[in-house]
Symmetry: C2
Subunit: 108 residues, 2 copies
DNA sequence: CTTTTCCATAGATACTTTCCTAATTAGGAA
DNA sequence: TTCCTAATTAGGAAAGTATCTATGGAAAAG
């Protein structure tokens, strides 16, 4: 959770996540949208990946990044639970909703 | 929201929030629980307050801090909404739950 | 094999954060 | 006023972060 919060404490990284909400895309496609050198984007993506907030998938020459919405939500809900009981309820609801949905995601 | 995430990207600050979940308390009471000088605690609390995550209330010589659970939750839910629709639903539920509860909090 | 494309890593520099001790402000009591 | 306690502010050292340019390496194309 530590890593997740540190990763989210950066406007460029949150903007990258929002951009990724539109669907999986390559580093180059992401970099086009930001006024920042590609190595910087790459670094931000590696931070997000290290925090488990995005998935990585090699596809030939390209690397496709996609958002890890579940991990994102679970981290924040887990943090919120001590402060507001509703978070616990929603967390259970999310868990139930995922049952029966095998969805084996291909990370790395 | 920027301030909220930056404030939360610190283990000591998240621990302080968890401690505050037990109820309002003074800076000194908080500082007793942490192996850190009081000025450091004070600084962390000012960061949390600047981010709107805690309330401050002067009480004579003491300053009582308490958690601002609503702002905390609203920030995180607002961030999550683009990624998972359930967050929007819960956000509405929380809002509805607050209706009819005037609760004018005394900040500053 | 050579070139091009896509991305990551390395190194440099500037900036920010975190923590301490010491000093300061402010309130309450003698 | 004077003293004591509570909390913040100030100053500085050390560590971390962000960004750039330059370089490296793997996959596809020529």
């Amino acid at each position: 959770m530590e890593k997740a919060f540190r990763a989210l404490a950066s406007t460029p990284r949150r903007r990258i996540l929002n951009h990724l909400a539109g669907g999986p895309m390559t580093v180059g496609e992401i970099a086009e949208q930001f006024d920042m050198a590609m190595p910087s984007i790459s670094k931000h993506l590696s931070v997000l990946h290290d925090a488990g907030l995005v998935h990585q998938q090699k596809r030939g020459q390209h690397i496709i990044y996609s958002i890890a919405a579940d991990n994102l939500a679970n981290n924040l809900y887990a943090f919120l639970t001590p402060f507001c009981p509703e978070a616990r309820k929603l967390s259970a609801e999310r868990k139930k909703a995922r049952e029966g949905v095998p969805e084996r995601s291909d990370d790395e």
